[in-house]
């Protein structure tokens, strides 16, 4: 493990779920089936019988951190830690014993917009697995011991994040880009709000927000559709039919150039930057997606990597990504560079945004980007859990059950002119907001 290398940190608001929306396995396309349970619960399924297990992913819309009540920020995240800590007649230990006895993997978490779950279980344990999943979702206990324990785990994590340069930068970015909006609040809350969360808050959130009309399910693996339908009722049949509406305003990152510095005695400055981007339902989304690939999404072939890493050795990594939230679009990026040279790296980011915005795009680079994006398509969905996650994303973003078949044609249809237009429309070098954590030399903060 010592030699194995791990990513720096994730881009602001870029959940893996959303980022994956653009991949898909061509082979899997024809196999996506819509399963409707006897009780009327819908799920999308890919049957893959060669390995005897099933991967299930689920999401509840309008039940993410943006739904946390004021003063209880971090509630959805904490609920994620507690749903598998006792339900029905089973206390925390008994519940975990049941999961462990059948090697059932069960986890929950919350992103900005959704509450999410995932489960892996061997084919011959699906009855037990879906039974426990149903208990967790519909009859969670929130006993005092696990609530105190999970709270302490979260508080400890918050303490760590308070010293982690990447976490600090992302938090500050969100707070300054979305002031006064739920997207600007910390997803995991603060020590104060997490301490204030009581068992009653957790039950109320679960009861009001985890409902069938907000539920989306994807699964891939070894199960017959008919049997799967019955299992759906077992897990989800006991959920309330409707969730409370979530009033959440449309928003966008504040459009103003800004540089904030969080001083920290570390050898390398960590930088997060971002601006407005397209939402997923924007007709320009695919053109912007190809543009982003050329700019900073495409690893070594991306312009930012070439200019900042390959030519000058200023960073180990620099990347950008589109992060379409339900009520806002974001184009964001990150890099890390030694304090003495980070100013140069930031300058180059702005310069590359400008160069791209001016329309300097070659036909050949667009062709190469599309070749990569279409050719690597099957590689992105080569496991059951990735496929299951993709099926959830396709439903959340209204991409259609045939999206896997159509997706490469949508990429192919993006022309050089589309990319140029997307760059002119979306890249706003004069509205880029930077947050730097470290001891940067030669960088001035605004305000």
């Amino acid at each position: 493990m010592r030699g194995r290398k791990v990513a720096v940190s994730t881009t602001f608001l870029c959940t893996a779920l959303l980022c994956l929306a653009l991949g898909g396995a061509a082979q899997a396309a024809s196999q996506v089936v819509r399963v409707v349970s006897p009780g009327g619960i819908e799920a999308w399924l890919v049957r893959e019988p060669s390995i005897p297990f099933l991967a299930v992913q689920l999401a509840f819309r309008d039940a993410g951190a943006a739904a946390d009540p004021a003063g209880r920020e971090g509630l959805a995240n904490m609920l994620g830690g507690l749903l598998d800590e006792g339900a029905g007649d089973l206390d925390s230990k008994a519940f975990q014993d049941r999961l462990s006895a059948r090697s059932i993997g069960l986890r929950f978490d919350a992103d900005r917009d959704r509450f999410q779950g995932g489960m892996d279980a061997l084919s011959h344990d699906l009855e037990e697995a879906f039974g426990l999943l149903g208990l967790a979702l519909t009859r969670p206990r929130f006993d005092a011991e696990p609530v105190a324990r999970i709270r302490d785990q979260i508080l400890t994590g918050l303490q760590r994040d308070a010293e982690d340069p990447g976490s600090l930068a992302h938090r500050r970015w969100a707070a300054t880009a979305f002031p006064g909006h739920a997207y600007g609040r910390p997803r995991e809350g603060t020590a104060e709000t997490v301490t204030a969360i009581a068992a009653a808050d957790l039950s109320a959130f679960a009861r009001r927000r985890l409902a069938r009309d907000r539920l989306v399910i994807g699964a891939s693996g070894d199960v017959e559709p008919a049997a799967f339908g019955r299992l759906l009722d077992r897990a989800f049949g006991g959920l309330p039919a409707r969730a409370e509406p979530l009033p959440l305003a449309e928003t966008a990152p504040v459009a103003a150039a800004a540089v904030a510095i969080i001083p920290k005695a570390i050898p390398q400055s960590v930088v997060v930057f971002g601006q407005a981007g397209p939402k997923r339902n924007n007709p320009d989304f695919m053109a912007a997606f190809v543009m982003n690939h050329l700019l900073g999404g495409g690893g070594f072939s991306a312009r930012l990597m070439n200019e900042i890493r390959e030519k000058r050795g200023l960073v180990y990594g620099v990347s950008t990504g589109l992060n379409p939230l339900v009520k806002a679009g974001v184009l964001s990026g990150q890099l890390a560079s030694q304090n003495a040279r980070v100013a140069e790296a930031i300058l180059l980011v702005r310069q590359e945004f400008r160069r791209f915005q001016s329309g300097e795009v070659e036909e050949a680079e667009v062709a190469a980007a599309k070749a990569y994006l279409t050719g690597s398509f099957p590689l992105q969905l080569d496991t059951n859990w990735r496929l299951a996650r993709m099926l959830v994303t396709m439903q959340l973003q209204d991409l259609g059950i045939d999206y896997l078949e159509r997706r490469n044609a949508l990429v192919e249809a993006v022309s050089r002119d589309d990319v140029v237009r997307a760059a002119r429309t979306w890249l706003r070098p004069d509205e880029l907001r930077f947050v730097i954590v470290g001891a940067p030399v030669g960088v001035a903060a605004t305000n």
Binding site: S301, G313, G317, Y372, D382
Partner: protein, 442 residues
């Protein structure tokens, strides 16, 4: 690794799936010594193509720590046929992904690509096995990239700085004590000549393993491998000569205080046999021991310290047997707010003492074995993870049987064997305890 990506999940998956219910692989060896392993998996019309070299950071010459990892970066800087950077650009333009990684014992390069492009990547990988060309204008900026990589992974991370210190203390003589990425002052001194020397000494078909996993058969791979790798001459290799660690007779302790630390952590690592030094049966018993101690929320450490004792927010155990020389068995925990490190440490020691005194029982061994077998089935879902397990095991000197028979070997692990392994390994005099602490007065 040359390109940062979200590999954490994959790395953890590998680390926590130590047993295998692997699909059968086929293997053959070319006349020049290149071992080829083919792992058929026809679910997706794609292949994972990997070349593993039996050389890693533990083979860095004295004073040149980091050279194996630096060379890994430089392998993308071109040959007579390929301009600098053209390797990855060509892979991407063909819809493929590529990257590389370095450990103490091996260096690996991989591409994932549509199956009809297998020959393309094979040709390029064979080319750079013997034809690497390096010049200062390419090499020197890349050295700066590696220094930035070190800052990101280590210098900006107090916990990583402590792990680095703990390794130094764990291995006084053996090169596992040095960081894979290298010491900063030694990285700064690495040159183009150093990289080429290392390359010529260690890279060649007779020191490599080719792993091809995916929608292929051995019959399809063999002629392609013969065509592209077959003509490469074997190299005269230097033997893997590593200093032998002197016996450890006293418990060692490292405390690292850093102003950036707000929450302390505790860890203890014990010298332990690897698959190679201790054999497959012992490795399997230690896998089960790690699962019993720290595998999931029902494990002994989690139950005692986190749930019942209220002393810790986390607790775990970890054992990775895929190393050439002796490895470590690792325990870790983090205190609940208000709990002293002394109280936490005493509770962990009491729990270990209880296990050593009374041993483990057959029922918990059975449950741990079942979980490890299930993890192996989940693990088969990732062709890449399966290919990595084969590659790593062979690269450290293991055999195909070590990979393919682990499931069967787990079935043979008894409570007595686990207890015996625990008594042999969990010995304080052969441990390093490391504490990550806030700066006093901070």
């Amino acid at each position: 690794m040359r390109l940062p990506l979200a590999a954490l999940a994959a790395a953890l998956l590998l680390a926590t799936s130590p047993v295998a219910a692997e699909p059968r692989a086929e293997t053959f060896t070319l006349a020049n010594g290149l071992q080829v392993v083919v792992i058929p998996d026809h679910r997706v019309a794609a292949v994972t193509h990997m070349v593993w070299y039996r050389v890693g950071a533990a083979d860095d010459p004295p004073g040149k720590s980091g050279i194996a990892h630096f060379l890994e970066h430089l392998m993308f800087k071109g040959t007579a046929m390929l301009a600098p950077g053209a390797f990855s650009r060509t892979i991407a333009a063909n819809g493929g992904r590529d990257n590389a990684f370095t450990s103490q014992d091996y260096t690996g390069y991989f591409q994932r690509i549509a199956k009809d492009r297998l020959e393309l990547v094979m040709g390029m990988e064979a080319d750079r096995m013997v034809n690497l060309r390096l010049t200062d204008p390419e090499v020197l900026p890349e050295r700066d990239v590696v220094l930035e990589e070190r800052r990101s992974r280590t210098d900006n991370e107090p916990s990583a700085l402590l792990r680095e210190q703990a390794s130094v203390v764990q291995f006084f003589a053996h090169p596992y004590g040095r960081p894979v990425i290298g010491w900063e002052h030694e990285i700064r001194g690495l040159t183009t000549a150093d990289a080429l020397d290392f390359y010529r000494r260690h890279y060649g078909p007779n020191n490599a393993i080719l792993v091809v996993a995916g929608d292929v058969t051995a019959a399809e791979v063999r002629p392609l491998a013969e065509k592209h790798f077959g003509p490469l001459p074997a190299r005269a290799l230097g033997a893997r000569a590593r200093l032998v660690e002197p016996p450890q007779r006293a418990a060692r302790r490292v405390e690292y205080r850093d102003a950036r630390v707000r929450h302390p952590t505790w860890a203890r690592s014990f010298l332990a046999p690897s698959l190679l030094t201790g054999g497959a049966a012992t490795a399997a018993a230690l896998d089960v021991l790690a699962e019993i101690l720290g595998g999931d929320a029902t494990s002994r450490l989690y139950r005692t310290l986190v749930v019942d004792g209220g002393l810790a927010t986390s607790a775990g155990a970890y054992y990775d047997d895929v190393q050439v020389d002796q490895t470590t068995f690792h325990l870790s925990a983090s205190p609940r707010p208000g709990v002293t490190m002394a109280a936490l440490e005493a509770a962990i020691e009491a729990e270990i003492q209880r296990l050593l005194q009374h041993g483990v029982d057959a029922a918990e061994v059975g449950r741990a074995r079942d979980r490890l077998q299930a993890q192996a089935i989940f693990g088969r879902d990732s062709t890449m993870a399966v290919a990595r397990r084969y590659g790593a095991t062979l690269a450290v000197g293991g055999t195909l049987a070590d990979v393919e028979e682990r499931e069967a070997r787990l079935d043979q692990v008894t409570a007595e064997a686990v207890t015996a392994a625990a008594r042999a390994v969990l010995v304080p005099e052969r441990s390093v305890t490391s504490l990550l602490l806030p700066k006093e007065g901070a």
